[in-house]
Symmetry: C2
Subunit: 302 residues, 2 copies
Amino acid sequence: MLASLDSPLLLGIDGGGSKCRAILFHPSKGVMGTGLSGAANPVNGMEAAREAIVDACVQALEAAGLSAEQLGECVAGAGLAGVNLPSCFAAMNAWQHPFAALHLTTDLHIACLGAHGRQDGAIMITGTGSCGFLDLAGKQTIVGGHGFPQGDKGSGAWYGLMAVQHALEASDGLAPATAMGAGLARALGSQEPLSWVEQLAGQRSTAYARLAAVVFEAAEQGDPEALAIRAEGADYINRLARQLLDAGAPRLSLLGGLGPLVIPHLSPEVQEALSPAQATPEMGAVFFAQDQRRAGARKEQG
Amino acid sequence: MLASLDSPLLLGIDGGGSKCRAILFHPSKGVMGTGLSGAANPVNGMEAAREAIVDACVQALEAAGLSAEQLGECVAGAGLAGVNLPSCFAAMNAWQHPFAALHLTTDLHIACLGAHGRQDGAIMITGTGSCGFLDLAGKQTIVGGHGFPQGDKGSGAWYGLMAVQHALEASDGLAPATAMGAGLARALGSQEPLSWVEQLAGQRSTAYARLAAVVFEAAEQGDPEALAIRAEGADYINRLARQLLDAGAPRLSLLGGLGPLVIPHLSPEVQEALSPAQATPEMGAVFFAQDQRRAGARKEQG
């Protein structure tokens, strides 16, 4: 076991609500391989998350010309959505995983470590979900990120839900029909509100996040409802940004797939305060695994 | 089979998202027994809905001193949430049910038949979900009722979700703390937003509907956020009512557990237009089964 822990092979894992990315990293050789699999949010299914993690890691090993058996020689750092919930952390931590060691933290923490090159800073994420995170003087604070539909305002899932709500009201004649209804019909491949509901009933955040572009496209066409939604989402991200900056974040990055759509509509001072990410969340997960190993080594020596 | 269909024993079933009610009815003896079981919304699980229906019906038989075996002598009328979705209706209709016959329609239809004593009219429901329904000159129209969270504005689930969203934003310091946060903490038995999220993550509409009273209690205390939510929910029900009345509804009833909380905040002209329900939805399901049998008998004779 100790021999394995001395291995320089590191796996960096970013497990989110819609996909799981892994990189195989060697301190002198750099990134040796990458892997991509499905959703790895343990809240939505522990077993599926574990399978997605292993799948992405095996891909990364194979891309480097190594075999799945060598998972046991790798020290893994994983940032997973949902493990800020204590019950979820405990369940995932109890996993009889195939790695030499597995260091577990949140997807937010590794994204922040990557974005600021393991220095203090804050991030905001607008992807399937939304969240703020501050890593300052060894203290980590999450702002928002309570999940869908109860939180995650300004996220892709939230934009999608707003589009669906407004289009359904319009289809009932309870609100004026706008460009969002036509956009939603195209996105869902049907003019029939009943079909929209059948496609979405009981679905999770990812199904709604796929519809976020409907709002931004309709807003570009001047649709007043879409403009109001876009402004409400941007207002939330502005408030999030101000709180992270007021709390002392020396650096702030906005991450997530919705970033390019959202950033132009944030307030000028928030746009001004944003810095680009220096490395990926997967790389942040490698940083985290390295830091944990060092802390462990110091503990053993001390 | 024909002998069974001639039986005067009728079961009226009202299957909703949070519970299933059944009555055993005899044309000359009246209501002989009642039963109550769990959620019977087929959208949230076909098998659970079928079990809830049988459970409630067996209770109704046993309350009348009859046995479960006599389900086969009963003609059942069932109004179920969700069967307005064609796929859901087809799946439920394929059931090898234990009744002599089963006549299937929506929970809205039976509620409307009950509320207006099988005459034309319209209903609005504000319970776990919300919906409008018009039964006029043989044509039935649903307005709203698209389910949670994509529709069902002004419903218990919607009020609960609004309370949670606002309390979580306040807990993050992104919105002012109001009485709703304290109310939510009491309702969920914890001061900890993390615990709220753990209790609600992945939960369905019923979990949120249980929190609806938080908004109304905070509004009574003058909480500005709660007052705004209450006004937004009432505005939706007002629009629903006006559309049903404009479409020609000769009579309009507001049903559902949230009614007593909602009605005082509707516009005066909508309150004026409301009539009390004349019979229960389960009784409406009995009316429906009787009407279907008569229509079937006419068909055979014709």
